[in-house]
């Protein structure tokens, strides 16, 4: 589906594809209010289809041309006990007529499909917020299950909110009675009823969802049509019932976006595409060795769908075999990748050390989640930074790259591949659960604008012995990059052996010589230290004395917080690190310019530790490890405190 949005005068030119059906045009007789942004949270049981509902609303919103940011939040259990607090799954979406950076702190609208969803989420809804509840699920037993002694719909506890009691289940069953479905089957479409209602409330285009349903249930046309009917019934319910007196318009964010073609994209999808693009740009086959782990498995799934790009995906017997196979493929000349999360990195550590010693290109993608150990598999965290930096035996330095937004995962993957191929080294790509599952609009790049990553394999001898013999030395380095030649099997005359035992400089033969080991350790470090990375950019319009320094997925919340501070007259500078190792060359100089440096992280201060150690600056940590991204308002308060101190 394609729609057009013009930025002229900031007025939306409604393309026909996204106008509502004429007979159901919203607000024909009802009041329409304009809003600049809205935060909606869909919440229900794990089995209620809240993630799908959120995804669909997101797609509609993306195609409408709003800027958006999403936060799926779901339990680690596939089906936690029905109707319980741990079983609540939610999806928050923030959309606006201007550029936004986070999924929003607090929902303006909560859709609660059952008492558990209401109870688990009500504390996040500010007074005056709108709450749509499925009254059918508020039976005594269901309420008692989550500790409601009396009905919150009747006992006055929701008096401060604008509550819309809707018998969603009954209405859905009623709407589908012609389909001859069982009650249970019909009930399942209640999420589409809710989606239809919300689509009416916010003037979302509907064709995409209808096409999606028909394609998703292509093999079960009756179910497809039932879902479409429920979706339309939800829309019509909004249009006709008096309870919903107002609908809202959020104009497309025309000014937020440079000209171009856009799509909505999640971090894991962008990262997958980045890997395929990197292989294409390098002219190498892509090889993924991986073991399923949350929240990284989506990359394995996605790459497995693109075998027509020559992509080989190998689901290994364990994390170690996943990276082992990738390393073997790297030896053979593939662009090799392993994808995992923190616990998997721990298992892969020895092989990463081998890759450091072999000096072969390899991408280690870590979609960080809450730790230690199994931790919080479906929640986000940034606590693997020091594991990526130092989690190996011996001196085993390697580059670390971190994307800052879901769409940025695409560019970060290309950058990680550039470094790996240029310097013949394993590279850590540190994404996290928030980036992986969150989504935002992405300007689709022209393939001609992507970086050239072509790399040359060794083809012949590279060294002349004293007696004039031409030989191949696998550890003779490029004087500029200190990279060693990549000589792949099948190349005649370059037969050589490499391994994890210390090697003699140049020849690569086994060497236990003390001075040689000292040289090799320092050379491997110098190679990583010498990697060329762009200078750090600082956003400092006011000549501030306080700098906020971030890395990875905190970019959105930090930038949103910085805007709030500045809007209220505060002066603060902002810089965000993509390269964690090596740091940009100007980082020390940047840090020295500021009296105060604040480092917000979703860990207990890992970047702050690195920065303090390397630059002797009194960096202040501001940390949060609750499995959720920072809230802009809280972060802004922390920044103000630092400024005022």
């Amino acid at each position: 589906m394609t729609s057009q949005v013009s930025s002229e005068a900031g007025e939306a030119l409604l393309g026909e594809q996204r106008s509502a059906p004429a007979e159901a045009r919203p607000g024909a007789e009802k009041e329409v209010r304009r809003l600049d942004r809205v935060i909606i949270r869909f919440a229900g049981d794990s089995g209620d289809g809240m993630q799908l509902t959120g995804d669909r609303f997101t797609s509609e919103t993306a195609s409408f041309g709003n800027d958006l940011s999403t936060l799926p939040n779901f339990p680690a259990e596939i089906r936690a006990p029905a109707g319980t607090l741990p079983g609540v799954s939610s999806f928050q979406l923030h959309f606006a007529d201007h550029d936004i950076l986070t999924p929003g702190d607090a929902p303006d609208v909560l859709v609660a499909m059952n008492p558990a969803a209401l109870k688990a989420n009500i504390a996040d809804v500010p007074r005056g917020g709108e709450i749509i509840v499925n009254t059918d699920e508020f039976a005594k037993r269901a309420m008692a299950k989550v500790g409601y002694a009396t009905s919150p719909l009747e006992d006055g506890s929701l008096d401060g909110y604008r509550v819309h009691p809707v018998p969603l289940t009954t209405l859905t069953i009623e709407a589908l009675k012609e389909f001859g479905l069982s009650r249970k089957e019909a009930e399942r479409s209640k999420n589409m009823f809710a989606l239809g209602l919300l689509s009416w409330m916010y003037h979302r285009p509907t064709e995409g969802t209808e096409a999606f349903l028909r394609s998703k249930f292509a093999k079960k046309p009756q179910i497809a049509e039932a879902n479409v009917a429920a979706f339309r019934a939800g829309w019509n319910f909004g249009e006709t019932t008096e309870d919903f007196a107002v609908s809202y318009e959020v104009a497309p964010a025309t000014r937020a976006f440079p000209a171009g073609t856009y799509r909505n994209i999640s971090g894991n999808l962008a990262l997958s595409y980045g890997l395929i693009a990197a292989a294409t740009q390098a002219g190498l086959p892509l090889y993924l060795g991986s073991y399923p782990i949350t929240p990284a498995s989506d990359i394995l799934h996605e790459l497995s769908r693109h075998k027509n790009f020559g992509v080989r995906t190998f689901q290994a017997e364990d994390e170690i075999a996943g990276i082992g196979a990738a390393l073997g493929a790297a030896f053979g000349g593939s662009l090799a990748v392993t994808t995992t999360s923190g616990p998997g990195v721990a298992l892969k550590s020895e092989t990463i050390g081998l890759a450091v010693s072999l000096e072969l290109p390899l991408l280690v993608v870590d979609i960080q989640r809450g730790g230690p150990s199994t931790g919080l598999p479906t929640k986000t965290e940034q606590a693997d930074l020091l594991q990526a930096m130092y989690g190996r035996n011996g001196e085993a330095p390697l580059p670390v790259v971190a994307p800052k937004t879901p769409a940025d995962c695409f560019d970060a993957a290309l950058e990680a591949a550039r470094i790996a191929l240029t310097y013949r080294t394993p590279v850590f790509l540190l994404s996290d659960g928030y980036l992986a599952n969150g989504s935002e609009p992405w300007r689709i790049p022209e393939t001609g604008s992507l970086p050239d990553l072509t790399t040359a394999f060794a083809t012949g001898p590279n060294h002349t012995l004293a007696d004039g013999t031409e030989v191949f030395w696998p550890y003779k380095r490029d004087p500029e990059t200190l990279a060693r030649p990549w000589a792949v099997p099948g190349t005649p005359g370059l037969e050589h052996r490499i391994g994890g035992i210390e090697k003699q400089d140049g020849t690569g033969n086994i060497s236990y010589d003390p001075a040689n080991h000292d040289l090799m350790v320092r050379t491997r470090q110098a190679k990583i230290d010498g990697i060329t990375v762009p200078d750090l950019e600082v956003d400092d319009p006011d000549g501030a004395d306080t700098l906020v320094l971030g890395w990875g997925s905190t970019y959105g919340p930090i930038t949103a917080a910085v805007r709030r501070v500045r809007r209220e007259g505060g002066h603060i500078a902002q810089a965000h690190l993509r390269h964690l190792n090596p740091f940009p060359k100007n980082l020390g100089e940047v840090l020295a310019r500021y009296g105060k440096v604040v480092v917000p992280e979703m860990n207990l201060g890992q970047l702050a530790t690195l920065v303090r150690a390397q630059y002797l600056v009194d960096a202040r940590s501001h940390t949060q490890v609750n499995g959720m991204p920072f809230k802009a308002e809280q972060l802004a308060a922390a920044l103000k405190e630092a400024i005022d101190e």
Partner: protein
């Protein structure tokens, strides 16, 4: 299966000799180590394959035998403990023009790397795995291994080891291996013949090589090597031949009709027609497994050597390559621009 996968590997342009496969590195095993004999046999056999040596790769893990790649003038990787089958899987599945060999030991393959070994076998990746079994940890100076006999006195087991050992051939057959053989380091002719059969096999070939560690477990296979003892102890398996052995060729293997199990009997005119004829190609692994259980784990009496099992099954690398071809047939060659654009876009006009 139609054409041998060996045909995917480029051939050598000139006739090769054993010398072509010797690297310039000094061999550093203990004097008298069984590894020397295996190295010589492999270097001597390689010219017969006639493959371009730049298309041959030896991958090893950690242990005495894992130094092997350094001594072969081919491509090689000495990796980390137990992981060679995983690394070799990545190489073999991404480069079908290579002949990939794994060199491993009883500790490397069956202890720390047991998981990778069984999964390589069940997938049937096109790898030739040479498992040097000396029933001891040599490189770490003499602890018992997963193939050591129960009660073995070593530095780590002064009162005797407690673990029941693995039988590598039984393990491999249980792990769905398509080719399983056993040979002995000192029998160059037999070793070479088994290597030949392994090299010809499409898919994973596991070759257990009984290898003497003269420092920490000397004489572990003496019963199979001493000329007189060997006649009674070793059962040579040959496909299509009755399974008979003994100084007078008077022993044979028959199936017990009551249990279905195998047993050794003295051959008589009465039972001669009941002597089992070895069929390495039979699809069922049952008899091969039963053969692997004949030997006494302590004395090694009645140890079969040769090819236990050699059957055809689709090779993982081939299936993977076929899927890639099939994807191109179905979806066309990958088009990056189209992939990135997807089918749900909107345009912002400048």
């Amino acid at each position: 299966m139609s054409e041998s996968l060996l045909n995917l590997v480029p051939k050598a342009e000139a006739v090769q000799t054993m010398k072509d496969f010797k690297s310039d590195q000094e061999v550093r095993w203990c004097p008298g180590c069984g590894d020397y004999a295996v190295l010589a046999a492999v270097q001597g056999f390689m010219p017969e394959l006639g493959l371009a040596k730049e298309n041959i790769v030896f991958v090893s893990g950690i242990g005495c035998s894992s130094r092997f790649p350094y001594y072969m003038n081919t491509y090689g990787m000495h990796s980390i403990h137990g992981r060679a089958p995983a690394i070799a899987t990545g190489l073999a599945t991404s480069r079908r023009d290579l002949s990939v060999w794994v060199v491993t030991g009883d500790g490397d393959a069956l202890s720390i790397g047991g998981n990778h070994l069984i999964h390589a076998l069940r997938r049937n990746v096109n790898l030739k795995i040479l498992l040097f079994n000396n029933r001891i940890y040599g490189l770490t100076k003499g602890q018992y291994s997963p193939t050591s006999e129960v009660g073995k006195i070593t530095k780590s087991t002064p009162m005797g080891s407690l673990d029941a050992p693995f039988n590598p051939v039984s393990l491999a057959i249980g792990a769905e291996a398509t080719f399983v053989a056993r040979t002995v380091d000192s029998d160059r002719k037999h070793l070479t013949e088994v290597l030949r059969r392994a090299a010809e096999h499409d898919g994973t070939a596991l070759v257990e090589i009984y290898q003497n560690c003269n420092i920490f477990n000397d004489g572990a296979f003496e019963a199979l090597k001493d000329k007189d003892q060997a006649k009674e102890a070793v059962i040579r398996l040959e496909h299509g031949q009755p399974i008979r052995f003994g100084a007078e060729n008077d022993k044979g293997v028959v199936r017990d009709p009551a249990t279905g199990d195998l047993e050794v009997v003295t051959v008589t005119p009465d039972n001669e027609d009941r002597i089992l004829v070895h069929d390495a190609h039979t699809p069922s692994p049952t008899t091969a497994f039963a053969l692997s259980r004949l030997a006494d784990p302590d004395t090694l009496h009645h140890t079969p050597i040769g090819v236990f099992r050699s059957v055809e099954r689709p090779v993982y690398d081939t299936l993977m390559a076929d899927q890639l071809d099939h994807a191109v047939e179905q979806q066309g060659e990958g088009d990056l621009g189209r992939l990135l654009a997807g089918n749900d876009t909107w345009t912002v006009v400048g």
